[in-house]
Amino acid sequence: MKMFFEGKKRRVEDNINKVIENSAINEDALFVRAEFDPNAGEKTGYSNYSYWRSTFRAFRHNRLAMVMASILVILVLFTIIQPLLPGQYDALTGQTNPLNENKLLSAKPPSLSTVYMSVPKGTLLNAVKVNDDWYGVRNTLTTIKNDPLSRNPIKFSVLEYGEEWCTIRYDIDYSGEYDILNDGKLGYIKRTAVNGEAIKFETNAKRLPAPMPEDLNDTPYTTYSWQEIAIYAEPEDISQSGDYLYVESEYIDLNEDGSAVTNADVDLRDYPSKMPFILGTNSAGQDLWARIWSGTRTSLWIGFVVAIFEVLIGIIVGIIWGYVRALDRIITEIYNVIDNIPTTIILVLVSYIMRPSISTLIFAMSLTRWLGMARFIRNQIIIIRDRDYNLASRCLGTEPSRIMIKNLLPYLVSVIMLRMALAIPNAIGSEVFITYIGLGLSVSTPSLGNLIIEGKSLITVPGQQYQLIYSSLVLSIITISFYIIGNAFADAADPKNHV
């Protein structure tokens, strides 16, 4: 072929030279010899068509896909930077209430604020230090314990017997040496006790009988209590159960006896942090917000790696399968064998045989997914490889690698993008499945599958459905956007759709 072209060229040149020699025209006067310029060579076939520009133009016309793409970009970026943001909880630490170490902040419903209530300036509170920044407060001054062995019940005077609150004077260390009605400390007690029963100022007949008036409203009178009674500084129970609320140390002034007074209108919080559990916590007290983003990271990572493996293996096998004719039969037979086994079975079997971990999941999913890709690429290559423009390229001596990149690849980009985009929803779905049957990741590696299954086990518990709903919502947004974007991009990247 080369000889032929060279030979011909020489003949044509000779002819031209002969003609020039024979004619009497001075050639140099008529023509200026052009310098060699590789760019000018390209100009002959100039068109402003650019594959990627056309692809993006077509993609931009699909409004839904653009919306989905922007949502997805924001979501993925947020997932990546979320652990770097200030004040985020750790996905794995069960949050505890610092003044009650054993009490996990478990199954807390979602809220956007940590503020439990606000109290005005000058409220008297009983304060306990948590750390330099936070104090635990409650407005009970003290609690009268029901001590069955004690012969000395708390003696107090009722100044006013109200509907809900009774105003009293009391002294815990009272030894009977002064008039409690006038000199005791002022406090309030609630008529309804913790268990909902009204406090009765009853006396235990076997013990010290308390002086009781006929009519309890006939104040003032002095009596005893054998019941556990919390005494409040104000006629208000700020934390219902008597638990501590939390306040920043700068907003309270400490008194000498451990009590504190607020120096401004302040917010009292459920736990010592300004950062709320936006999506609540799970049963182990772990922040659901952090877990969802951590799970999204895990699932997206699995999806991306599976997609990359699928594309790499799929392209390599597919190109060999389609381009090398001698191997076509063998690979087709192998493909038929593997393709006949249901993918779920392979997935389950591999996860069963190997230890559950992220790499096991990736391996099990990659094991079957490349098959479809390879087959599609093989079919495409068989269709395209012998088209006339490729034959022409081959005749002109174009390298096979250049044929593949310039002639074949643009036809395959659409399917590669589609398969990559669909690999992610698929991988997430497979991960949910594997977790569902108990072969997935452990709870210490949050993933969307984990979260869904964890939420699923709580659907019958009233008030706990948020755990399932938020995880499902994030998962659905991710899978649906990848699906729509993948399809829209595949359409846009198909050169047949470029006008």
């Binding site: 064998v337 086994i341 389950v348 929803p425 949910v432 899978t479 990848f482």
Partner: protein
């Protein structure tokens, strides 16, 4: 229930017989169209080879599992007792001998071995036989429902391309395909039972409790039927013979159903035998969500218990179903569509 008994007789007690009969019926059709015989025999041989490879691979893989999966009360036994039991089960033999014994047992006695943990000593085939009928019934009903929902939806989408039904159907298909089925199954169960005011769990005698499992099970295949039917019908609508028919004055409705739909349905036929056979496997999600005593959770339970013979039997059965389903689908296509022939075209590069 007589239906249950009949189905059990067909699919469970005589599964192999049924499959053979179905294949024979297929071949009778093929003999009428002689040029397909060679293709079918070749295809059958390929399937048998595949089946053999799968059985061998699964067998070898499960031989490498920890040995406690083969013996019951493993923890209570001494080392000597364990070895005795393993020897009695033939697991101390060289691997090729084990495989030969397994094949011999399979073909001579029709036995897939005995369960070790799930029902200690119970015949694997019997365990499956007790579980399969309810899965099959649920599966067949939901398949019928998915055809009833999916085909009209697909046809409506193709007829009103770009209008309401097309958009609605596309949204439905995208949702079902993109979101993992576990998620919407859970929500259907949660809100469906609340809305209908019934118990969360399935009860065989109460027909109302059948509705939600069957409905959720049919959604996936309904979406895929609608998607493919739409695509094939649109391909068909753009063909010249339809344009001719329209020009000739064939009314739209009969054009759609007697020309477009019938031709578009042909490529979908090949998936129907496989999906019919797969009803045996049950739906794992549905059956565990509604606690239906079917096949769905059996493989998972067997895996959880490390009951290796049962796992092996189930994996083999499922692969077998898959292969036979594909084979029957291809043969059915060839029988139904006279345009398909497998004569090699010469001169094709």
């Amino acid at each position: 229930m007589i239906v249950l008994d009949v189905l059990k007789w067909i699919f469970v007690d005589h599964l192999i017989l049924t499959l053979v009969i179905l294949l024979l019926v297929g071949f009778v059709f093929l003999i009428i169209r002689k040029h397909l015989v060679k293709y079918s025999l070749k295809r059958l041989a390929g399937s048998l080879l595949t089946l053999f490879i799968i059985i061998a691979v699964v067998f070898l893989l499960l031989r490498n599992m920890p040995e406690e999966g083969f013996i019951e009360n493993y923890d209570k036994l001494s080392k000597q007792q364990r070895e005795d039991q393993l020897r009695a089960l033939g697991l101390m033999d060289p691997i090729h001998k084990q495989f030969f014994n397994f094949l011999k047992q399979l073909f001579v006695n029709g036995s897939l071995g005995a369960s070790t943990k799930y029902q200690a000593g119970g015949d694997v085939i019997k365990i499956i036989g007790d579980k399969a009928p309810i899965s099959i019934i649920l599966g067949v009903i939901s398949m019928a429902l998915s055809l009833v929902m999916g085909l009209p939806l697909g046809a409506a989408m193709a007829r009103s391309k770009g209008k309401f039904w097309d958009k609605f159907g596309t949204a439905f298909i995208v949702f079902i395909n993109a979101v993992p089925s576990a998620v919407y199954y859970i929500f259907i169960q949660l809100y469906g039972t609340k809305w209908m005011g019934i118990d969360l769990l399935f009860e065989k005698s109460n027909w109302i409790t059948w509705i939600l499992p069957v409905f959720s099970m049919s959604l996936g295949s309904a979406a895929s039927y609608a998607m493919w039917l739409r695509r094939y019908m649109l391909d068909e609508i753009n063909k010249d013979y339809i344009r001719l028919a329209r020009a000739k004055g064939v009314p739209g409705r009969s054009l759609m159903f007697s020309h477009v739909f019938r031709n578009a349905f042909v490529p979908m036929i090949q998936y129907i035998p496989a999906s019919l056979l797969y009803t045996v496997a049950g739906s794992l999600y549905i059956e565990s969500l509604y606690s239906i005593p079917g096949m769905g959770g059996l493989l998972v339970k067997a895996i959880g218990l490390q009951d290796n013979p049962l796992v092996q039997a189930l994996v083999m059965i499922y692969s077998c179903i898959g292969i036979v389903g594909l084979l029957m689908g291809d043969l059915l296509m060839a029988v139904i569509d006279p345009r398909i022939n497998f004569v090699k075209k010469d001169g094709v590069r």
